[in-house]
Symmetry: C2
Subunit: 347 residues, 2 copies
DNA sequence: CTGTTAGCGCGTTCAC
DNA sequence: GTGAACGCGCTAACAG
C-alpha cells in the first residue's frame, strides 16, 4: 500500500485543530466556519492528502465496489458487457472488481466468496452457460446480486436478473429466413444445455410452426453434451456438413462464433454464402460484420445489457425494488442471407 | 455491504474466549493449542464466518488489490491483456480493479487518483496511445506501477514497463513481404503520434533500407493527427486508395483493425487479396484469422504480455528489483500475403 | 462552531 | 497458552 501516507491527523496537527474538524471541513460540513474550511482544504491540497477509502469503508460499511464475474474477459461478448457495466458504475462512483470463471463452477463459487470476503456492495454475474444449481448454493449470502443472462427460479430479496429474450431472438432469425422464401431451415446449436440454447431452439421451432412449415429432426444439429472443450468456431465447422446433407437452404446458428465456423466450413466445401446457403447468427459481436460476407445476425446489445444490469444493481443498492428485465433483441440484416434459390429464376 | 456479518468477536463470545484467541486460531498461530484451534475453526465454519478484508487491510496496510487501466475493455486487444493479468493475479491472491480511460487523459489521471484513494498495492497501465507527459504527472505517487506498451524515460523506483518491440515487429512484417519478392511496399498507419506508431514505421524503413529497396513518401499513408475520433477500420478504408494509386503491391498496416479496413476497401474496389495486393497486419487479434482471407500479421501475444506485466508487478511488491521487459513479436503467416506478381509467370 | 470519545473489525505487542 | 490494550484512518455521537 505504498509508504505511509498522510492522514487527517497529520493535517490536523499542522493546522492546530483536531482531526474531526479536518474530517468535517473536508466533507463540507455546515458545522465548520467557511474560513477555516477553506484553510484546511488548501492545506490538505498542499500536503497531497488522499483520503483512505479503506478506513472510510470500515466506518461506512460500504466499499463502493461491485464484483463482476464473467466467463472470460478475452471473449468480446463479455468485453462489451463489462464495458457497459463499467460505464455506469463509474458514473455512480463505484468501482469494478473483475473475476473470470472460465466457465468453471468451482471458480465461480470461489469468486463469489472472494467478493463476500472483500465486502463488495453488490455482485454481477454473467455466465450464460452456468448451471441452475448455481443460485441455490449462494442463497446463504445476502449481497444484492444481478444475474445476467441466467435464469433464476427463486428470486427473492437478493437475486435479480437481466436477460435477453432468446426465444424472441430465435423467432426473429427464422422469420427472416421464412420471409426470404426458405422452407428447409436448419438450426445449428451448441450442446451445453443452457437456458439460452433451449430458448433459441424453441424460438426456431415456434417460428416454423407458426408459418406452417415442416420440421425435420435432421435439420437440427447439436453436438454431444460432453464436447464442452471444443470452441464454438469448431462446432460450427464440424456440424455444418450434416445440415447440408439434410438439404437445408438456410441455417439459424446459436451464435455468431458458430455461424463463423459454419461460414469457414462453407468456404472449404465450396458452398457460397448467401447464394447457396443463407446463414443467420446471434449476438452481433464486432466480428460478425467483418467476415465475408458480413453476417446477418440477431443483436444482443451487450453494452446496453451491461448498462441495464448495473443500473438495476444501483437501484437495489438504494433499497428500491426492481423488476426483472427481459431485453428484446433485434435483427441486423447483412449479406449472409439471400432469397431462397427455389424462388429465383435459375432455382 | 450487506447486513452486518459476524465478526471474530461474535465467535469469541460463543466460544468463551477472547477475540485475539480467535484471531490467532484462525491464522494457525503456533501459540494456540491445537485443540481449541480446531474447535474455533469448526465454530467459525458453523457460524458462516467470513473474514473482513477491509478491516484486515486497514491493519495490514495492504489491500491485495491491483488497479488496471485500459483504453477500452470492449477492445479485444485489451480484453486478452486483462485476461493475462487476471490469470496471474488470481494465482497470487490479488484482485483486479478495472478502469477504462477511453483514451482520455483526464480519465486516466482520475483513474490513477481513484486507485490511490483505494490504496491498491500496485497499478498496471495499458494504453499505447497515451502521451508521454503522462508519467510526469504521476511522479508524486509512490505506488509500484508497471506500464504496458508505454515508453517511460524517468524510470525510477515506481515506474517500470513491459512493452513489445514494435520496431522489430515492423521489420518482420516488411522482411516477409520482401522475401515474397515485393519491392514497392507501403505503410498504412494511424496519426496518433504514439511511440508504437513511430517504431513500427521505423521498423518498416529499416527493413527497406537493409534490403536496399527504394522508398517513396507516397508509399507511406498516415491520416491527419486530429482525426482521432475515427476508428481504425475507417482509417484503413479511407487511406487504402492512395497507396494503390501510388503503385504498391504489398502493405504493412499499423494494426489488424487498419488492415481489416484496408481489406474491406479492397473488396469494394475489386482488388483481390492476396493476388493483386499483399496485406500484413499487427496484433494478431482473434478477428485477424476470421476475415477472408485470414490475415498475415505480427503477433503481440497479449495474454503473455499481461502475464509478464503482472509477474513484474508481483516482484515489485516483494521488494525485488526488476528489469524492464521488451517482448519480441513474431510473424504469423496466413493467406493475405502472396509472392509479388512480377515474379509470377503471368506477372 | 469545535474538541473529545467511541467504535468500525482485525492483528499485534505486552503482560500474566 | 491466553487475555487486555492499542492502533490502523476515519466518521459520528456527545460535550462544551
Amino acid at each position: 500500500m505504498s509508504k505511509r501516507k498522510i492522514s487527517i491527523e497529520d493535517i490536523a496537527r499542522q493546522a492546530g485543530v483536531s482531526h474531526s474538524t479536518v474530517s468535517r471541513a473536508l466533507r463540507d460540513s455546515p458545522l465548520i466556519s467557511s474560513k477555516v474550511r477553506e484553510e484546511i482544504k488548501k492545506l490538505a491540497q498542499e500536503m497531497n492528502y488522499v483520503p483512505n477509502a479503506i478506513a472510510q469503508s470500515l466506518q461506512n460499511q460500504r466499499t463502493y465496489t461491485v464484483g463482476v464475474i464473467v466467463t472470460s474477459i478475452a471473449d468480446p461478448f463479455f468485453g462489451e458487457l463489462v464495458q457497459g457495466i463499467e460505464e455506469v458504475a463509474k458514473l455512480a462512483g463505484l468501482n469494478v472488481l473483475l473475476n473470470a470463471s472460465h466457465g468453471d463452477f468451482e471458480q465461480e463459487i470461489a469468486a463469489i466468496e472472494n467478493f463476500h470476503y472483500r465486502r463488495v456492495d453488490g455482485i454481477l454475474v454473467a455466465d450464460s452457460r452456468v448451471s441452475k444449481q448455481y443460485t441455490k448454493q449462494l442463497t446463504q449470502f445476502t449481497v444484492p446480486t444481478v444475474l445476467i443472462n441466467i435464469e433464476t427460479e427463486d428470486q427473492g430479496e437478493t437475486f435479480h436478473s437481466v436477460a435477453i429474450d432468446d426465444r424472441l431472438g430465435g423467432t426473429l432469425a427464422v422469420e427472416h429466413l421464412i420471409e426470404l422464401g426458405h422452407s428447409a431451415i436448419g438450426y445449428l446449436g451448441v450442446g451445453d444445455g443452457s437456458k439460452a440454447a433451449q430458448q433459441r431452439l424453441e424460438g426456431y421451432r415456434m417460428a416454423l410452426t407458426q408459418a406452417g412449415l415442416p420440421q425435420n429432426h435432421n435439420w437440427v444439429a447439436i453436438p454431444e453434451q460432453d464436447n464442452q472443450t471444443i470452441n464454438d468456431i469448431d462446432i460450427g465447422k464440424k456440424m455444418l456438413p450434416q445440415l447440408i446433407d439434410a438439404g437445408v437452404t438456410g441455417i439459424f446458428c446459436y451464435n455468431d462464433m458458430v455461424a463463423v465456423g459454419a461460414l469457414l466450413a462453407c468456404k472449404e466445401l465450396n458452398i457460397s454464402v448467401p447464394q447457396d446457403l443463407s446463414l443467420v447468427g446471434f449476438d452481433n459481436i464486432a466480428l460478425s460484420s467483418y467476415v465475408t460476407p458480413p453476417l446477418t445476425t440477431v443483436s444482443q446489445r451487450m453494452v446496453e445489457m451491461g448498462n441495464a444490469a448495473m443500473n438495476m444493481l444501483l437501484e437495489l443498492l438504494e433499497g428500491k425494488t426492481v423488476e426483472n428485465l427481459l431485453l428484446s433483441p433485434f435483427l441486423v440484416k447483412r449479406s449472409s442471407t439471400n432469397p431462397s434459390c427455389v424462388l429465383l429464376p435459375w432455382g
